[in-house]
Symmetry: C2
Subunit: 365 residues, 2 copies
């Protein structure tokens, strides 16, 4: 079929037939695309999560590519399954698309979805295609398998708060997009925007963190198997807000040490070049898709042993305390209330009005 | 919370907390709303289906109520699980909502979702809430349990094609909405539009078929348990198009007898009053959410026995034949090609341009 053809000219049946021809029958799929429902082989406990990317809110078509969008749409859902200690198995893809969208957009999106699915060992099992007269919506539901669950509710006073990887790069990436930096369709650097070529590697790192996040799935799975943490969640709305969530679910308080946050080095260097500080991005930026964990102090070494295997950097960023659910900042013996600047989807400014832009969880949006 | 409050003034966390307070922890739910993912108890085989209602395409806010929308959003997904012979168990709710929507809209939607979920024995297990600057999108994913599957692929030459219930009322309902007829929030008749009061019962039946469909779940489940049909699917795009689908999946042809279709009596009476004929609505209208079944002639009595138990009317509407996947009309010994007017989401006219309107599957849209 002509990749330049508009969906409105092709018709639903032809589009569905085309999509279906691209989707392999994966492991565990008893009945895939094409019937009233899919049928998949499941165990005793199935994890279910759903997350959507909405055009103008979570992405702009001019800031990313269909392939990267497909990858990200799946990655953000994989992150949720990972944060439960589960193994992602199956995904349904629900697309709301305007008639003027071209087939090549759908193909690019499925390129990314199928790539990411293969990486994670996930099978596409179907979905839905609906016309919209508004923004594109990419809504995924991922099913996963779990033997043991790592919930948000198990944090205990005295637990150390530990973060995987680094923070702030994805939020810095939104700023770079607003400044004209761009990736190619395949995730290489295409345009440095207002930055010089010498900043290329830093730009690439932050743009990829924003447009093509890669949650630490294997590490998260190993956490559950080894039963080393009391609680975990993925950091999607920003460390400060997500720590508060963990506190609320566990019925505890917490403090974070702003001096010891694993601020992403690329984000820090770029902020420094502008005379700014990346601490806010690391504390409140969001979309890091790293893990926030609560671990008993005597299990920290066991946690580190797991992290070494999966080559995941760990940083102790604070501690759980008894008391009402709140998050304080503590540095050098001084405790302060933590300003809650975590992103709120329903208080966000309109996209494009600030330097931030349309990405939820971004500091400017 | 103030039902008149706009979502943009409440903020995401408050809205989510409010929604969460309304959702009971249902049977089989190990972990419900509030963590990275939900965890549910499953058997060896899990059915998964996803279907969305998009404002301006599948509904208008002025033509229905939030409560009826919530009911329908779930019903259309239940229909898919039923058509596989499955038992619906769990549902995730993904909402794309503009900031200006009021809390009472969300509450009404959940009234309907929870009502329908209770009716079907389904547990709400979570979902997602995203801001949009476009139309409202209500995207549901339903998980079901199945021991045996009834697929679309098992129809064999010689099988009789049988339809449950009646056809055409939902499509007639779209016409009535365009003519000003309305239901109340709770599904009673509020406005007869261009019709007289004496037509009230007919209007009510067709409007309810359109705005509050009720798929024959228990009957479908019994079909699977009793292994009486070779194939089944739900009639959502219209009998003609769905019969073609069944033929394509089974690698067979079929004929339909237009004289013997179970045209809905209310739809027929209303069309007759306009000097028209409801045959087109019954053949191509769509959104009937009845079952189309292929059954061996010597199993027809067994099928009827099941239908009697569940008080489901059955009509033999045609027969499966060997040959290429195509659908013909046959009446009085004459066979004609069946005009394929089944609805195509991606060739639809803009809502409001015809007497039909925004409902997919409607003859006028």
């Amino acid at each position: 079929m002509d990749p330049e053809a508009r969906l409105g000219d092709l018709g639903e049946k032809a589009i569905l037939k085309h999509i279906r021809s691209r989707i392999p029958l994966g492991p565990g799929v008893a009945l895939g695309v094409g019937d009233d429902a899919a049928a998949v082989e499941t165990g005793a406990l199935t994890l279910v999560t759903t997350d959507a990317l909405v055009e103008g809110v979570h992405f702009r078509r001019t800031w990313t590519s269909p392939r990267l969008l497909g990858r990200k749409a799946l990655s953000v859902n994989l992150s949720d399954i990972g944060a439960m200690g589960g193994v992602p198995r199956f995904v349904t893809v629900s697309l709301m698309l305007p008639l003027e969208v071209k087939l090549e957009f759908v193909d690019g999106l499925y390129d990314g979805l199928l790539e990411r699915a293969a990486w994670a060992g996930v099978s596409l099992i179907g979905g839905n295609l609906a016309r919209t007269e508004g923004p594109i919506v990419i809504d995924l539901t991922v099913l996963g398998h779990a033997d043991k669950l790592i919930t948000r509710a198990g944090a205990q006073p005295g637990d150390l708060l530990v973060v995987s990887g680094s923070l702030g790069a994805a939020a810095a990436g939104v700023k770079l997009l607003a400044q004209g930096a761009r990736l190619t369709e395949d995730g290489d650097l295409r345009d440095t925007g207002m930055w010089t070529e010498s900043s290329g590697p830093l730009l690439l790192r932050c743009l990829r963190a924003q447009l093509d996040p890669s949650p630490p799935l294997a590490f998260a799975r190993a956490l559950a198997e080894n039963d080393v943490v009391h609680a975990a969640m993925d950091i999607s709305d920003g460390l400060s807000g997500d720590t508060l969530q963990l506190c609320q679910e566990s019925g505890v308080g917490a403090w974070l040490d702003p001096i010891n946050l694993p601020i992403d080095r690329a984000a820090a260097a770029l902020e420094r070049a502008r005379g700014a500080d990346a601490l806010d991005l690391a504390l409140h930026g969001g979309e890091d898709y790293e893990l926030l964990m609560a671990v008993a102090p005597d299990r920290l070494d066991a946690l580190k042993d797991v992290a070494v295997v999966w080559d995941v950097p760990l940083t102790v960023v604070g501690q759980v305390v008894a008391g009402a659910p709140e998050v304080k900042l503590r540095s050098g013996g001084v405790r302060l209330p933590c300003p809650m600047n975590a992103h709120d989807h329903f208080r966000a400014a309109r996209p494009g009005t600030a330097e931030g832009g349309p990405t939820e969880g971004s500091p400017g949006a």
